[in-house]
């Protein structure tokens, strides 16, 4: 089984640690110990393939800005998390993404944009349209809205990111045109599925 390195990034207080903890934790775990080696590893199935995700979430160390690139170096895919209740948390993602592209030296690095705290619809300040615009401008990176607290869409964002990494691996040296076509096709789907979720899941939001 292959290991996939995923880095979770975002401003402090957007609930990214909850997102990660929710994803990594199995429901029956009575108490979560983040200090052990396996604390951030989880096996999932993506399109019939078993993947071991190793998640690097730097929650709590957001102020160690110099550390960021160290974290980013190890990542193959990135979850960029903001809170739909904070305009600035989305703005901060911009800087993070640029840094990722710089350190990975790759414009097409797998990224998923996550608007967390979808359960706090009444406090929403970032409209879906705004988030969607950002996602389009970032090479159509898929955008999801999640609620770590209600465990809504949590697994989905990790699976999507993992799928992107796998696809990227499979198309190591595509010609430019092929890749463009590919990427377009690839990214339409998550949007659709997200919309569907949104339509069907209004009660959640």
């Amino acid at each position: 089984m292959r290991d996939y390195h995923i880095v979770v990034l975002g401003a402090g207080g957007v609930g990214k640690s909850c997102l990660t903890a929710q994803f990594v934790q199995n429901v029956w775990i009575e108490s979560y110990d983040p200090t052990i080696e396996d604390s951030y590893r989880k096996q999932i199935e993506v399109d019939g393939r078993q993947c071991m995700l190793e998640i690097l979430d730097t929650a709590g160390t957001e102020q160690f800005t110099a550390m960021r690139e160290l974290y980013m170096k190890t990542g193959q895919g990135f979850l960029l998390v903001f809170s739909i209740t904070s305009q600035s948390s989305l703005a901060e993602l911009q800087e993070l993404r640029e840094q990722i592209i710089r350190i990975k030296d790759d414009e097409n690095v797998p990224i998923v944009i996550v608007g967390n705290k979808s359960d706090l619809e009444e406090d929403r300040v970032v409209t879906r349209q705004r988030a969607f615009t950002v996602s389009q401008s970032w090479g159509n990176a898929p955008y999801y809205e999640t609620s770590a607290r209600q465990r809504a869409n949590v697994d989905e964002v990790f699976i999507d990111l993992c799928r992107q990494i796998i696809r990227k691996d499979n198309t190591t040296t595509p010609s430019i045109d092929e890749e463009v076509v590919y990427r377009r096709r690839e990214h339409r789907r998550p949007h659709r599925s997200r919309r569907k979720k949104r339509d069907g899941g209004c009660t959640i939001l």
């Binding site: 800005t65 690139e69 389009q136």
Partner: protein, 1170 residues
């Protein structure tokens, strides 16, 4: 072990009666109908006979409806039909039942570290609280309550319940004494015996509680119904099975609605709605016994039978270990028990239980030869049975015979050795007058017995493997006497015994009656532990007996054995399907024809050495009435039938009792002899407690609880509260309770302990101490100030009255605390027991400080710089000294981090964060990284840049040598940043040696696998050491995010548990903070003010208003110094990936960095795929 098939004969019309089944696992069941297996009960039958009213602790439920359970009334474990039972979960019993579950889990768990567990009596509190709750709910908490006064049955039951509780408490105390003396393994057996005893006692308490509630029900019923009879006599009440009311509507007329009453009535009505069983046997039986159950619930046709195999979902949630089996459920029950696998298991269990009780007894002070012979004999007989089964399997399949040979021989040898050891000891001691085997002689026996256990385990494991392979088969007792009928073995042994020990025979049948012996207890007292008829037979005074034994009976027996155990026997047995000639331990004590295992175990009990000090009357009656007068002695009679921890179920106790169990438990006349001190003890035992609102883990640590329960734990009267618990509480309480609430809870504790005057003193002192500790060392005036409203009046009023000095002191503190800045009494740096003074243990204070590596010319440079001269570069200074000064600088901040800065993500607050020092750490770390980048990028010459890089690698290396991981991290981060790492021309000049060094350093701070390398290094690291703070911050964040604030207390049955504070979360938080504090010990290094000043100036220089600005600024500079290689015909592989012109990108990066790239990009997707 496989459960028997569904007990009902007819299974035709299952479908009609399928009820919507609840996937709820009931921990306790109560038989509403007696169940006596129609087939004969042999020792191998693991089916439990049930009497109406029996309560069962359920371990697992098989899908066919049979449950693996333990009968509380006897402690017997086996299979029982759940369709004879209903869930038992009356509200007022709930806490007691829950406590029993915990008690069972804790004591039965092999994980339990006995010594730690038993060192304090915490594990007892649940049971006590449960009993209290029951009494409280039924308004019977005090003897004076009207209910207790008016109902004699209640009064007696209540008393019995409390005396049983007191017995358990005393046993637990004894266990505490055991463990306190620090015994070696040799004592394990004794501890295990005591644990078994305690479990049985806990069972008994619950059985009493059930009984108590039944009486209560009867009472309420008698009050409601027009009473046709006068006040029921005790005996009547006691023997009446729980009776549903004839008319349930009459409940509504109850004047006094008591919760327990309500629960009771609910249960009663559920009786009537329970499904009936109606084969003719049961019906006739029911009629003959004239149960008062409403007959309408029992339809007359047989179709009403509702086998649970269908009613139970196949996915019944089984909480505990379920026993795997490969038998199909279609095999009839009667046959099933003949299956060889069943026989194997049963005989193995029996063997182990005998061995275990034997081993257990070896630890006691001394025992008579007679006892020794008896128990060895029992063990050997059981071992023989086991070997018989193995033999049968060998006979069944020759191939397996070969495979099993070694294990079988081994077991045989081990049994032989045990017998030899026993024989030698008896031969040696038998001549002596006292005829007592001293414990020091037991070593060999112990080894032999332990070896037997091992050998049997191995043999059984191998045999099971063989059975798996060849398939299970029916095991018929063979013609040549290979049957494992214990009775027949017993007869054989007796026949053999008789010639050798003729003198001893009459002793059993006609026990001598010395004048000193008290008259036997009236036989009307049904013995709870034993079948009634046998009781008087087994109670000759030991002294008499042993004397006789030494005179005659023993010697010949021993000789007999010697002959039997010739070494060639070993060979003879192998590979033959014939019964191996096992050594025979004939016992002169055994004369009864109807010898049965149960009786054996009874004898076992009777000959507990401790009986010697007790009176015969006690040992033979065994009723609860004796507990108070001579606790230990009477208790030992209970041990006899206990299975040890190693062996469940214990088959030796599956004997049908002559009396219904409820009446077994009945309050007999003897109970009125209960000593009066039981009543005095009542209040002591039943102190008001919230222990049932506390959650523990397997290690006994508190993992959850309500505030009153936690506060109670803080202020226990009988043990010093765990230091970790107290410091965790002080540190984290503001996360789950407001200071005001805590103050109130402490005052409440101070108040309600008045109900238990005997503990009020110590508890109140502890309450004061907790207040004092809070105010002195853990006070945070900002958040805690409100609580003074509660604390000051308390100090003045309640505390002042009870403990005047303490009241005055607390009042003083309360007044000081509001004006003081910072804690009144300086808190130890670490709440986890490490103090700043403990520095001494790592570096003696008189160790000379290492000399500074700073030359005069360097000092001159610094002086010149201070006077406005040129700024020296880092190259001017020695890497070691720079590393030292950086370390001192960072350590100063690190040591100032207060624990409260690390709570509740205080450091991540965007504004107004109080985590000043944590923030300073991250700022310094970032500044240092910037300084690294700045110093490198200041040179246009790649070679010069390389020199600086090399210097920083050296500094980083020195930081590692100083165990300064924080600075190491900052430097490595910078050297690895996109800004620096892209300077290819520069890195080309750096030597391979330095690059390798950097690689090594990098590997240490690698975040991979949750910083596995770094964590491993820091684990057990000895200070002085400056760990990377980031990992602690992440850990703290995730403990908070990954653990909920509250936990559920386990509910019983389908009830929801109560929600309590998740203290485990806070313990984890405190542990992480404690880990950090472990390193808050300054280095012993010389601070060089000039150098510090210079470093500070450099840091200030690289500081900019915005971090982001810095990063971008350095990146731009990096691009200017080493632009992307436009002219290069072949771009580097990384840069080629994007397939676009490097020049374009560079231009874009330099000039359009901060502009809105999004617009640009969205418009140019097709041209430049971004």
């Amino acid at each position: 072990m496989t459960p028997p098939a569904t007990p009902n004969g007819s299974q035709e019309d299952l479908r009609q009666h399928i009820e919507p089944s609840q996937p709820v696992f009931h921990n306790f069941l109560r038989a509403f109908y007696p169940f006596h297996p129609t087939y004969a009960i042999s020792d191998t039958t693991v089916t439990l006979p049930l009497n109406e009213g029996d309560v069962i602790l359920v371990h697992s439920i098989h899908t066919n409806g049979w449950a693996d359970g333990t009968l509380l009334v006897s402690g017997a474990r086996g299979w029982l039909p759940t369709n004879y039972c209903e869930a038992y979960d009356p509200e007022s019993m709930r806490n007691l039942l829950k406590a029993l579950l915990n008690f069972w889990d804790l004591l039965r768990s092999p994980m339990t570290r006995d010594s730690e567990l038993f060192a304090n009596q915490e594990f007892m509190r649940g049971i006590i609280a449960g009993v209290r709750y029951l009494l409280e709910r039924s308004n019977c908490l005090t003897r004076e309550s009207n209910l207790v006064q008016s109902n004699d049955g209640l009064r007696r039951n209540r008393k019995a319940l409390l005396s049983d509780l007191s017995a358990l408490v005393k046993t637990a105390k004894r266990l505490q004494e055991f463990t306190a003396v620090r015994h070696n393994q040799a004592n394990e057996g004794e501890v295990n015996n005591t644990i078994d005893e305690m479990i049985l006692k806990a069972f008994k308490i619950v059985t009493r509680g059930v009984r108590f509630l039944d009486v209560l029900e009867d009472d309420i019923r008698s009050r409601q119904q027009p009473v046709h009879r006068v006040m029921a006599t005790v005996a009547e009440e006691v023997y009446n099975p729980p009776t549903p009311p004839a008319d349930s509507t009459s409940f509504e007329g109850t004047q006094q609605v008591d919760p327990a009453y309500e629960a009771a009535s609910r249960r009663s009505s559920s009786h009537s709605s329970g499904s009936g069983l109606s084969n003719s046997y049961e019906q006739t039986k029911r009629q003959s016994q004239s149960y008062k159950r409403m007959s309408t619930t029992f339809p007359n046709n047989s179709s009403a039978s509702r086998p649970l195999s269908t009613a139970r979902p196949t996915s019944v949630h089984i909480k505990r270990q379920s026993i795997s089996h490969r038998l199909s459920a279609s095999i009839p029950a009667a046959q099933r028990q003949n299956l060889v696998s069943e026989k194997l298991n049963a005989s193995h269990d029996l063997f182990l239980s005998h061995l275990a009780s034997f081993i257990g007894r070896l630890h006691l002070q001394s025992q008579s030869s007679a006892e020794l012979i008896l128990s060895v004999r029992q063990s050997v007989t059981a071992g023989r049975e086991l070997l018989l089964v193995v033999e049968a399997i060998c006979a069944h399949d020759l191939q397996s015979a070969e495979a099993l040979d070694p294990a079988r021989n081994m077991m045989y040898n081990r049994i032989n050795r045990l017998v030899n050891a026993a024989r030698d000891i008896i031969t040696a001691s038998g001549i002596e007058e006292e005829d007592v085997v001293m414990p020091q002689q037991n070593g060999r026996l112990l080894t032999a017995a332990t070896d037997c256990v091992k050998a049997a385990g191995e043999c059984v494991a191998n045999t099971k493997f063989v059975i798996e392979r060849i398939g299970d088969f029916e095991f018929e007792p063979q013609a040549e006497g290979l049957g494992i009928d214990v009775a027949s073995i017993g007869v054989v042994s007796i026949e053999e015994a008789k010639p050798s020990a003729p003198e001893s025979a009459p002793q059993e049948t006609t026990p001598p009656e010395p004048a000193s012996r008290p008259p036997p207890p009236p036989l009307v007292i049904p013995s709870y532990e034993k079948p009634l008829p046998e009781v008087p037979l087994s109670s000759p005074p030991i002294t008499e007996q042993t004397t006789q034994l030494s005179q005659g009976g023993l010697q010949p027996v021993v000789e007999d054995e010697t002959k039997e155990m010739a070494p060639e026997d070993t060979k003879r047995m192998s590979r033959k399907s014939m019964l191996p000639p096992l050594p025979k331990m004939t016992s002169p004590l055994l004369t009864q024809e109807d010898y049965s295992p149960s009786e054996q175990s009874m004898n076992e009990g009777e000959f507990q050495p401790s009986f010697r000090s007790g009176s015969i009357a006690i040992s033979s009656s065994g009723t609860s009435s004796t507990y108070l007068s001579s606790m230990r002695d009477s208790e030992s009679s209970m041990i006899s039938q206990t299975s040890t921890r190693a062996t469940t179920p214990d088959n030796s106790i599956y004997v049908p009792r002559n009396q219904p169990s409820i009446s077994d438990l009945s309050v007999s006349g003897s109970q009125s002899t209960l000593a009066d001190d039981a009543d005095e003890g009542e209040s002591k035992m039943l102190e008001k407690t919230f222990a049932h609102e506390l959650l523990h883990n397997k290690e006994g640590q508190i993992t959850g609880g309500t505030l009153p329960a936690l506060v109670e734990r803080l202020t226990t009267h009988d043990s010093t509260p765990d230091a970790m618990f107290v410091s965790t509480f002080y540190l984290t309480f503001r996360l789950f309770v407001s200071p005001m609430e805590l103050a109130k809870a402490l005052v409440d504790r101070f108040d309600y302990v008045a109900e238990s005057p005997h503990i009020a003193g110590p508890v109140r002192l502890r309450v004061y101490n907790i207040f004092k500790g809070w105010l002195e060392s853990h006070w945070r005036n900002l958040s805690d100030h409100d609580a003074l409203v509660v604390i000051e009046p308390f100090a003045q009023d309640k505390l002042g009255r009870a403990l005047p000095a303490a009241g005055k002191r607390l009042l003083d503190l309360a007044q000081k605390v509001s004006s003081a800045d910072g804690p009144l009494v300086p808190r130890l740096v670490s709440s986890m027991g490490k103090t700043s003074t403990s520095l001494a243990q790592y570096i003696p204070a008189d160790t000379p400080l290492p000399p500074a590596v700073l030359s005069k010319s360097q000092i001159a440079l610094l002086k010149n710089w201070k006077m406005g001269g040129s700024n020296p570069t880092i190259l001017e200074f020695d890497p070691l000294e720079l590393a030292r000064q950086l370390t001192i600088k960072e350590m100063n901040i690190f040591c100032s981090i207060m624990p409260e800065e690390l709570l509740g993500s205080e450091w991540t607050k965007r504004s107004g964060s109080n985590a000043i020092n944590v923030r300073a750490m991250s700022t310094l770390s970032t500044d240092l990284s910037n300084l690294v980048a700045d110093t490198i990028l200041q040179y246009d010459d790649a070679k010069k840049r390389a020199v600086i890089i090399k210097h920083w690698i050296k500094i980083a290396h020195k930081c590692l040598e100083l165990n300064n991981y924080d600075s190491l991290m900052a430097i490595i981060c910078s050297l690895n940043s996109s800004t620096i790492i892209r300077l290819k021309r520069t890195w080309d000049v750096v030597s391979v040696k330095r690059k390798d060094m950097l690689k090594g350093l990098q590997a240490i701070v690698e975040p991979d696998k949750n910083y596995a390398v770094l964590r491993r290094r820091l684990h057990d690291h000895v200070p002085p050491c400056l760990p990377f703070v980031g990992t602690y911050l992440t850990d703290l964040t995730f403990v908070d995010a990954g653990n909920p604030a509250t936990k559920q207390l386990p509910g019983l049955g389908d009830s929801e548990g109560m929600s309590v504070i998740n203290f485990d979360k806070h313990t984890r938080t405190a542990k992480i903070i404690g880990e950090l504090q472990r390193f808050q010990i300054p280095y012993r290094l010389t601070e060089i003010p000039e150098l510090q000043e210079w470093i500070q100036a450099q840091i200030v220089r690289v500081k900019s208003s915005s971090e982001n600005e810095n990063v971008q600024q350095y990146y731009r500079k990096s691009l200017l110094l080493e632009p992307r290689e436009i002219t290069h015909p072949k771009p580097s592989p990384i840069e080629a990936q994007n397939g676009w012109s490097a020049g374009q990108k560079e231009k874009f990066d330099i000039f359009a960095w901060t502009h809105s790239r999004d617009k640009e990009r969205s418009g140019s997707v097709s041209a430049t795929p971004i």
